[in-house]
């Protein structure tokens, strides 16, 4: 079920959260809205859900104009950063809420809730209250609750933002697998480029209420359309008008005419890779990344003088 947003604008007082944003989300895809805080990504998600009305522009869900539809009638499932669990209801009652509101027969509700709890790996916790669950469990309950009404699109607003790093990693992989099973068109908001790259098959990069670029994870990394995207989807060093990725910096022990002399300010061992913080003679800093073998071969150490050459740079016209 595709989503098409056309020229959506939303202002909060003087602040423009969305500035004529147009974006298309294909049916069945898993899309990330990626951007720094204040980029408008959450507002865009809330506009799609109907929780926020755009000042201008339209929202189409599944070929139907939904711009003026209330959230109740959009067929969207929404998952909040802080779970929005109904605290006075058990896990079962939480998941059953949407079905009960729709007055489905009791036996059907029961069966469906059991199925969903199985799907989100929470069977046996049906009679607990949200306060008795961990953050990760609460979020999975919230997901089951959103999926219960068989939404045509699933929207998640920073769904893992309130969880600790380990649980976050687990749930990312799990969301990916869930999407492969359920195939519902899914859009999630994140400010974490790694999360977006790992989970999504399409990424919409946003900044200052505008869409900067749309593409697959690899596409964005290899062919960023501007300096912002380049800097946001991965580490980067700027030298004049050029942008250099750390793994595109070549290190040598001897100069060869095209290299610049640099001093190793700091070495950071990150398992398989080694990050090298360099300072060039003119004081310019440069970030390099080499494999552990290369680091050993060059006998890299702090304070060492070395010769660096960017093997690949990018220049953007604006």
């Amino acid at each position: 079920m595709s989503i098409i947003v056309k020229r959506a604008t939303r202002r909060f007082g003087d602040f423009t959260a969305l500035d004529e944003v147009s974006v298309e989300i294909p049916s069945g895809s898993l899309t990330a809205l990626l951007g720094p805080s204040g980029s408008g990504k959450s507002t865009l998600l809330r506009v799609v859900a109907g929780l926020e009305r755009p000042d201008a522009g339209t929202v189409e869900i599944d070929g139907r104009d939904a711009t003026t539809l209330p959230p109740q009638r959009r067929g969207v499932g929404f998952v909040f950063q802080h779970y929005a669990a109904f605290k006075h209801m058990t896990v079962r009652e939480n998941v059953a809420f949407g079905l009960k509101v729709r007055r489905r027969p009791k036996a059907e509700v029961r069966r469906r809730v059991d199925e969903l709890l199985e799907l989100v790996q929470l069977p046996g916790l049906a009679d607990r209250y949200p306060s008795q669950l961990s953050g990760g469990q609460r979020q999975r309950m919230a997901l089951a609750r959103a999926l219960a009404v068989e939404p045509s699109v699933l929207l998640l607003d920073e769904p893992f933002g309130a969880l600790d790093a380990r649980v976050r990693k687990e749930l990312r992989a799990w969301l990916r697998r869930l999407h492969d099973d359920v195939h519902v068109t899914t859009v999630f908001v994140t400010h974490d480029q790694e999360e977006a790259m790992e989970v999504a098959d399409r990424i919409v990069v946003m900044n200052h209420g505008r869409v900067e670029q749309v593409g697959g994870p690899r596409d964005l990394y290899e062919h960023p359309s501007n300096a912002f995207v380049m800097g946001f989807v991965g580490p980067v060093t700027r030298m004049g008008d050029s942008f250099i990725r750390p793994h595109d910096v070549e290190l040598r022990l001897e100069p060869n005419g095209t290299t610049s002399e640099a001093m190793i300010e700091r070495l950071v061992h990150l398992g398989f890779e080694v990050r090298v913080d360099l300072v060039l003679q003119d004081g310019q800093r440069l970030l390099a990344q080499v494999s552990r073998e290369d680091a050993e071969q060059l006998e890299l150490h702090q304070g060492q003088i070395i010769f660096a050459r960017p093997s690949r740079v990018r220049v953007f016209s604006n």
Binding site: A49, L51, K87, R102, R145
Partner: protein, 265 residues
């Protein structure tokens, strides 16, 4: 040294309570039974006393639900809506805290009395507000208005809008989302507000004394009856009626502590 400070503080707190609250209330109980239990029973069951008792309960039974309903609505408007004049509304709700009840009573007479702006219009249609039940209810509603609002506003703010929005996306309409999701999360705030409103409504004297006309057996509430007996030198009657008031207050207090205990866990 530390311990001494601790005991000093406790003695101070309890001593203050005893001097200001416990001793006078205890004295009322003691004095009421001065002529024996039979006399107390006779005084409590006197027709005017019984009438006053029920009238007090009736007024509370009308004023409390009204203020609960509008209190919750006001709280929702104050917390969830942004509109010009919101701060003004916020301030106006506290007016009954600030204005003396006597002034409130006089204001009601100005508007609804025989010569008042609305009073004459209503009188032509056979509706008497002042010196009858509607006026007394109005006075009580006025003085007990802020309690539910003030209890519910902070709870509502803390609960936030996430749960309600989640309910919307799951298909619940605004009213359903409010009743099924928001109301249960603010229920202790509402309950606490109801208890305070009830206590205030039962104890109201100043405004009601002005608008009621104080007709014994007709527009005399329990508090008015106490004063009436006192002025008539019927001390046993006054203290016995005070006793029923105190008993009602005690019931309300008990309800309140029960709620606090539930809230705490």
């Amino acid at each position: 040294m530390r311990n001494r400070g601790k005991y000093l503080l406790r003695t101070l707190a309890l001593g203050y309570l005893a001097a200001v609250l416990l001793v006078p209330v205890g004295a009322v109980v003691w004095r009421a039974f001065g002529d024996g239990a039979g006399a107390v029973w006779q005084a409590i069951t006197a027709p005017d006393a019984v009438h006053a008792f029920w009238l007090s309960l009736l007024i509370a039974a009308i004023a409390v639900p009204l203020n609960t309903l509008f209190g919750v609505i006001c709280a929702v408007v104050l917390v969830r809506h942004r509109f010009p004049g919101r701060r003004f509304l916020d301030a106006v709700i506290d007016l009954p805290f600030a204005i003396s009840p006597v002034v409130i009573g006089l204001a009601l007479i100005l508007v609804y009395g025989q010569a008042g702006w609305l009073g004459s219009w209503l009188a032509e249609r056979g509706i008497q507000v002042i010196f009858s039940l509607p006026g007394m209810v109005m006075a009580t509603v006025f003085v007990s208005l802020p309690y539910v609002v003030r209890e519910v506003v902070p709870v509502l703010r803390e609960v936030g809008t996430d749960q309600e929005e989640a309910a919307w996306t799951l298909g619940a309409g605004s009213l359903k989302a409010f009743l099924l999701v928001t109301l249960p999360s603010i229920r202790w705030g509402v309950a606490y507000g109801v208890v305070l409103t009830t206590a205030r409504a039962l104890g109201e004297f100043g405004a009601v004394t002005i608008v009621s006309g104080r007709l014994a057996g007709q527009t005399e509430t329990l508090t008015l009856y106490v004063e009436n007996r006192f002025e008539a030198f019927d001390l046993t009657g006054a203290y016995a009626a005070s006793l029923t008031l105190a008993a009602l207050a005690l019931l309300v207090l008990l309800a309140m502590t029960r709620l606090q205990r539930k809230e705490g866990h």
